[in-house]
């Protein structure tokens, strides 16, 4: 009996925990609740890429990757509970896929030496690596998105927005409010009028906002929404006959889920993106061969190639590249959180490397440093073709306006540094 109990305990521990040498990259997913329709494809894409690396390449640098999953239901409290439970498994990096959860985890992860990777979401000023030492939000953030949207509109209007009116329809939350200061700055610079229209969560009822849009007749509408707010907004825009090609959503308002319920009316709707569309990339052939056809897909396999699935894959690609870089710098395949942070800060993903990975022209070049945790913030515009049921990229990469954004990043990160008692620097 004396020997049986510890043996049993050890067996249970081994079954419950990853092998110590494995690289632990948890998947903080939401497969249940009101936001599950978007949480599922992201989680599937994220896990499937690591499964591919394990199956095809034997992991990264010879180390298998463990991807324990924890259900957050897109709920901040549950997200923090997930963090606490995952912490015992020594995760290298967390990708919470929620701005609310990210805000809660920033101070915790910094103490626990865990990297937070928040591509396209989270705290924008985390781009300043000298303050947010453990947070990375490359390749683009919310403020980049707002600026790219305005640059696109500027291009559409022949370079002059004076006297124009742009409405921002936004989720009335920390996430939705993120672009306001950027758009206010851009409004002063380019002379357009900004109309701010908040929508309370979840966003099922938006009649007031769209009646106001109908009355005020803005030239363009920019949207920062998530979940049901996207589908309702696009349907309401169709209802009032707002021209779809003058309606631009952030990348979280640009998945198949968002446009399909509005049917043919959504044809021509635009959204930002920071990665390619469709599955016409060699990587998807590998995913099908080694993951889907092998019966090892994280989900039912029916999400492959949609926008949010691809975003999950892309997040995993960047993390995997950072791990490989960290292993190279550390001279060992068994790395810890601090070494992964070094890997992120030395990360360089060139177009050639993307092609080697089977994703040619899928993402922008990424080159990070201690100072720059956010990359260059480029974005592209994709447009929905309702007849074909697919997105098409209609622009090349568009640069955000650093003249407006950098002072905002500096100001916000300095405020956080003061509040948190952080001495900015790279040591």
């Amino acid at each position: 009996m004396k020997t049986t109990v510890p043996a049993l305990a050890a067996a249970v521990m081994m079954a419950a925990s990853p092998v110590m040498a494995d690289l632990v990259v948890p998947n903080m997913s939401y497969r249940t609740g009101p936001y599950a329709a978007n949480g599922i494809p992201y989680a599937d894409g994220f896990s499937d890429y690591f499964t591919l690396l394990n199956e095809r390449d034997g992991g990264i640098g010879g180390q298998l990757i463990q991807v324990p999953e924890c259900e957050t239901a897109y709920n901040t409290e549950k997200g923090v509970e997930c963090y606490e439970s995952l912490k015992s498994q020594n995760p290298l990096v967390l990708n919470p896929l929620s701005t609310g959860i990210t805000y809660q985890l920033i101070p915790k992860a910094s103490v626990d030496d865990i990297v937070l990777y928040t591509p396209g979401y989270g705290r924008t000023s985390a781009k300043n690596g000298e303050v947010f030492r453990w947070v990375f939000n490359a390749p683009a953030n919310y403020w980049d998105g707002a600026s790219v949207a305005v640059s696109h509109i500027l291009e559409q209007e022949g370079g002059d927005l004076s006297g124009k009116k742009i409405a921002l329809v936004y989720h009335n939350s920390a996430y939705g409010k993120e672009p306001i200061r950027t758009l206010q700055g851009l409004s002063e610079k380019h002379g357009f009028e900004l109309v701010e229209l908040p929508v309370d969560a979840p966003g099922q009822e938006q009649k007031s906002q769209w009646l106001q849009i109908r009355r005020e007749k803005p030239d363009y509408v920019i949207m920062y929404a998530w979940g049901v707010m996207n589908q309702v907004a696009i349907q309401e825009a169709v209802n009032i006959r707002f021209p779809m090609d003058k309606f631009v959503g952030i990348w979280w308002s640009g998945s198949e889920n968002d446009v399909t319920p509005a049917g043919a009316g959504a044809d021509g709707y635009k959204s930002l993106t920071f990665h390619g569309v469709g599955q016409d990339y060699p990587l998807y052939d590998d995913l099908r061969t080694h993951v889907l056809d092998a019966g090892k897909a994280a989900g039912a396999g029916d999400q492959m190639g949609n926008v949010i699935y691809s975003r999950g894959v892309y997040a995993a690609v960047v993390i995997a590249e950072a791990i490989a870089k960290a292993q190279e710098l550390a001279g060992t395949s068994e790395i810890d959180g601090a070494q992964l942070r070094d890997g992120f800060e030395a990360l360089e993903i060139t177009p050639e490397r993307m092609a080697e990975l089977g994703l040619p022209d899928f993402g922008q070049p990424i080159a990070l440093s201690c100072q720059n945790h956010g990359g260059d913030g480029l974005g592209r515009i994709q447009q929905w073709n309702a007849g074909a049921g697919e997105w098409s990229l209609i622009t090349d990469w568009i640069e955000p306006d650093a003249e407006i954004l950098q002072p905002l990043v500096d100001e916000d990160s300095a405020a956080y540094a003061q509040e948190a008692g952080i001495e900015p620097g790279c040591n």
Partner: protein
């Protein structure tokens, strides 16, 4: 003058939105009136009904994910589609079956328990049904099309443009919702007034013990009421699901019904309608007139403030039964 015309448009849209809220509130009222149970699961019933309707209509195989995982198959659809009317009838049948199971497996075992116990049971039911809906039909967003028109009514736009110089926006879906809600309420009132089962339902609502003593089956009445509430949930699910697609946030429409119930009373069908209209118009006008001064997004909280204001003067709600306690 422009502001007045705009306010007129907002008022009409508020009325229409109020009807949509009332559709959800009706289900709560029916069950509370007949059994004294505040059915926390009413929003999830609407979700479940809408999921089932789309599933049947599109010929989706229920539990396909489970079947595929267990047997290594890749089944998704039967390969046929079902006409909308037939799909609605079949879904109504499923809701009756669900009502029967809820009575058999949950309510029957809780007869005589405190209302709070029954309320807690409906919370459990809500989470169970949400999970069941997920496993049966999947969590992806589904397009619901039963042939209801959507988009601006050209007739109203043209007419109001001729009268006021500004064409009003009225969504044709909202017009249909109003017609359907009116028909539904008329049918419910007729049912409760002129049918034997309806009178039995009212008797149970008035006094359980007295109804039992004259031979009315409480269990039958509960199955009947939950079936009717299930059908009302189906109608609400169709209206809201047509707007946003059928997705799991549909269950949150229940939040919009709470201020309606507080205002209209938990026991009155006309109260649910009038409450819905007052909340709809009140929140829309407040957002139009005051919203811009306070940063907007006032509708969610203002609906509750409005309901609380009414509660101060009529704690039982506008149409609720008067609370008389004799010592």
């Amino acid at each position: 003058m422009d502001q007045l015309i705009f306010a007129g448009e907002v008022f009409l849209n508020g009325l229409m939105t109020g009807v949509m809220y009332a559709l959800v509130a009706l289900g709560f009222v029916l069950i509370f009136k007949a059994s004294g149970v505040f059915n926390y699961a009413q929003g999830v019933l609407a979700l479940f009904a809408a999921l089932t309707l789309v599933g049947i209509q599109q010929g989706q195989i229920p539990f396909a994910h489970l079947i595929n995982a267990a047997f290594g198959t890749s089944l998704h659809h039967f390969g046929w589609t079902v006409p909308a009317v037939l799909a609605i009838a079949l879904t109504a049948g499923v809701m009756v079956l669900l009502a029967f199971l809820i009575e058999k497996l949950v309510l029957k075992h809780l007869v005589g328990q405190e209302p709070i116990i029954l309320f807690m049971a409906t919370i459990g039911l809500a989470y169970f049904l949400e999970g069941l809906g997920d496993v049966m039909w999947g969590a992806d967003i589904k397009t619901l099309d039963v042939g209801l028109p959507q988009g601006i009514s050209d007739t109203i736009e043209t007419a109001t443009a001729n009268w006021f110089g500004y064409g009003f926006f009225i969504d044709r879906l909202d017009i249909w919702a109003t017609v359907i809600a009116a028909a539904l309420v008329a049918a419910l009132v007729a049912f409760s007034q002129y049918t034997k089962q309806g009178r039995a339902m009212r008797a149970v609502a008035d006094d359980h013990q007295a109804a039992l003593s004259v031979g009315i089956s409480l269990r039958f009445i509960w199955v009947m009421v939950w079936s009717i509430a299930g059908f009302v949930a189906l109608v609400a699910g169709i209206m809201w699901g047509t707007k946003s697609g059928v997705q799991f946030s549909l269950s949150l429409i229940a939040l919009k019904a709470l201020p309606v119930l507080m205002l209209g009373g938990f026991t009155s069908i006309p109260g649910a309608i009038v409450g819905g209209l007052i909340i709809g118009v009140g929140e829309k006008l407040f957002e139009f007139l005051i919203g811009p001064m306070v940063g907007g997004a006032t509708e969610n909280w203002f609906a509750y403030v409005l309901a609380l204001l009414f509660l101060v003067f009529r704690p039982q709600g506008l149409f609720g039964e008067r609370i008389i306690e004799r010592v």
